[in-house]
Symmetry: C2
Subunit: 232 residues, 2 copies
Amino acid sequence: MRAISTAEAALAARPRAYARSTDTRHRLVESAIETFAELGYEGATTRLLAERAGVNLPAIQYHFGGKEGLYRAAIEHIAAYVETCMAPAADRVRAALKCGKPPRAALLSLLTTLLDAFVALVIGDAKGESRKRLISRAEIDNFAALAALHESMMRQAIGPCAALVGRLIGKPAEDRKTVIRALAILGQASIFCHQGARRALDWQDFSDTRVREVQAAVRGQTRAVFRAGAGR
Amino acid sequence: MRAISTAEAALAARPRAYARSTDTRHRLVESAIETFAELGYEGATTRLLAERAGVNLPAIQYHFGGKEGLYRAAIEHIAAYVETCMAPAADRVRAALKCGKPPRAALLSLLTTLLDAFVALVIGDAKGESRKRLISRAEIDNFAALAALHESMMRQAIGPCAALVGRLIGKPAEDRKTVIRALAILGQASIFCHQGARRALDWQDFSDTRVREVQAAVRGQTRAVFRAGAGR
DNA sequence: GCGAATATCTATCGAATGATAGTATTTTGC
DNA sequence: GCAAAATACTATCATTCGATAGATATTCGC
């Protein structure tokens, strides 16, 4: 959709050792996540981004090579967040599947654990409200900058989920049918980051108890899907 | 997010009887759907919108009161499309639930029919590619203009689905748990309109056979969920 | 502490955007 | 066909955007 800025190389070469500098960059990225999430890429003006971060306008140019560089940094920050949230569950899945064939109950347990983490990620805490909205945007706008985020989601959510579903239905993890069903399973959770879902529930935000309610529903339905080795 | 334009009233009062006028408006709306879907609200410039429609720049101002009016018209066009796609299935659900208590098998049949329509809508034909992308955007940007679309989705998809799920699990359609589970069921389908899902499947577009594959998977899993009156 | 490297700030540029003024053209009622 | 309403077009405005120039202040190696 957008070309990669040529300022990228210049930025990568820039030394970034000073303490004050990292603080400025951090504040800029943190507030950029919220502003981009709220207003979108075009809607978030550099002036607003600078103002909300408490820095001056040229700081964006100086530290990130421009608006797109800041956006990229924000996306990468979120990708790291995704890794943090999903890694424990995803790693456990990988470890369990690497050696031997876990029993069906163990596979289901791993899957529900993974789904719990995924639910918490996509509908999670109020602090992550902006993050998940940016993730949603990332699913639509296909900026080059979003590649990192897509990759994280793939490696930590879709991949492990497909691996488990493949074992449960007796097909390779890469099989088309396996991937489709894994996506459908994850979709149960991902729909809750949409506005429409909140409107339907009349939920303005997601408290901890609400997250747990959704987790329980998704868990229950997923267990039902794979109960008798069936689901068609 | 954005205030309602004051040009709206002036536009509503404008006479629009001439034949050529309706043609211009139609071309403008049709191409605006694609352009807004591709570039977002801010990204789609009025010049590009006019050029792609083969009209001149002030036509947007003249016919729709401005850029936002055109956006609103595009959204309403899609809302009508949603109604067209979902109404047959949704109406059948309403009719069946109005009088008496259909047997479990009938409820499941209605639900899978509704889901088939929903899958076709959100991942549907290449012609509707832009439409569904705009729907996705609508789920994130909460423009006032999107109220019409939200309402259509609620009335034709979420509402009927919740009504069926309520009957299947023996709770009121408005019950929180019912709505959560209905959303999770629909989520199985809605995830496929995201870029991440396509990337995972390595699908650039959705052919008819692919749509049917997804429909079959969603149908199968949904039947499994409600098979034994279970799912927790 | 000195001086070079690094970071911040004020002021401003050129380009692009949405909108409009004013005029020409087309369409419809009669 | 003709007048009047409705629509389309050309040229342009005021604003806002992202980016930069150039000067100043800060930081850290030594």
